[in-house]
Symmetry: C2
Subunit: 232 residues, 2 copies
């Protein structure tokens, strides 16, 4: 029979495993949200856009569950050092993934506003590649969390600069498009916000990477500025 | 002499008091950040804009302190019911105030981009009134938290709709301004983001209001949709 201590350790491991599974599930929903929102945008599909909002409500519910579980684990087990770092990381990562879900929802909500005029906004075609880049960062950083892989987390951080550059270039292109097609300014302004949301998703993936690194190593990702939103 | 139980209660009350003081301090810095960022924007004052970024780093540091204190209180005292709700609310409110600070910083970072052209952007003058409205919501909701005043929290929620309407009207005005002044589109696009940041500050004040209500009453602010970003 297990001793009392072994029993506690086992229960804690199970709780951590449950936390990881919940966060994985949130991450999967968030990735799906990003890709559905972009598809809805390209196809002008209001039904799919609405589904993104429903999926976001699921993400919110799982986040609330993570929160309750974290508080219970801290109160019952008073974990120390590595274990505490891990539990707190789970709490914070869940909060960030919830925000990523909000960005996907926000993109979905702009679909009708972007397609409201008679003009087809060619500039829409710029965004899916950027969305894929952001979504891949989210995917890879949650994999890094699952695997407690600090190096994989660092690799995600390093991709944020490319995403920021992509955003800056899209910002300039959209402004030029507006200058040349003044009738579409209202619609393209919404596209600017979509691009910004994607850029912010990358910032959040980077924040998660920093948390994964800290949870896995106990050190801060030094020699690196904290993730800043792009200047544009 | 106090009994052991009284001693624990007193220590807990002191910790809660300390948490409240830290959040108050964060709130004051966030309000100052919003007002300094707007002043920097109106006056094109890069020095003041830089100060907003320094103040934001202070907010981040206080948030980290709140987090450590909350985890310690939960682990040491395993608070129940009302007490637990209050401690968790402090954690969540600190996270939201940190985001409000980020929005102020983001506004400050756009100052040079908005003033980069030769044209004076008259549209800048639209924003201070909106900023004041958002900043007042932040102020009042943190007062409501300090006073555990659920009714004051509800009153803050009710002001979010007016802020959203203000934002929608500014969005339309800025789009019109861009159509009429195509040379300024790049600069005015940054103003759109500033207006959006202010609208989001109102959403976050509303989220805090919901947390204050829940912490004070144990009930969710029912008959009310969760705060949604404006559709524009």
């Amino acid at each position: 029979m297990p001793t009392g201590h072994e029993h506690t350790v086992k229960a804690f491991d199970e709780e951590i495993g449950h936390l990881r599974a919940l966060i994985s599930q949130m991450g999967g929903l968030a990735e799906q949200g990003i890709s559905d929102a972009m598809l809805a945008l390209q196809r002008n599909d209001p039904t799919l856009a609405k589904e993104v909002r429903t999926a976001d409500a699921k993400i919110d519910a799982i986040q609330a569950e993570v929160e309750r579980l974290v508080v219970r684990v801290i109160a019952l087990r008073a974990p120390m050092a590595d274990d505490l770092r891990e539990v707190v990381a789970a709490l914070k990562i869940a909060a960030v993934v919830e925000r990523i879900g909000d960005y996907a929802k926000n993109i979905a909500k702009r679909v009708p506003m972007i397609h409201q005029g008679e003009d087809r906004i060619e500039a829409v075609s710029l965004l899916p590649a950027m969305a894929q880049m952001a979504s891949d960062m989210v995917h890879d950083v949650l994999d890094a969390f699952s695997a407690r892989n600090a190096e994989a987390a660092v690799a995600v951080c390093e991709r944020d600069r490319a995403l920021d550059d992509f955003y800056d270039s899209i910002f300039r292109t959209l402004v030029t498009f507006m200058v040349e097609n003044p009738r579409t300014i209202g619609q393209v302004a919404h596209l600017l916000f979509v691009a910004k949301n994607l850029e912010r998703i990358g910032d959040h993936a980077t924040n998660v990477a920093e948390m994964v690194y800290f949870a896995a190593t106990g050190r801060y990702l030094a020699d690196r500025e904290p993730a800043e939103p792009s200047d544009l």
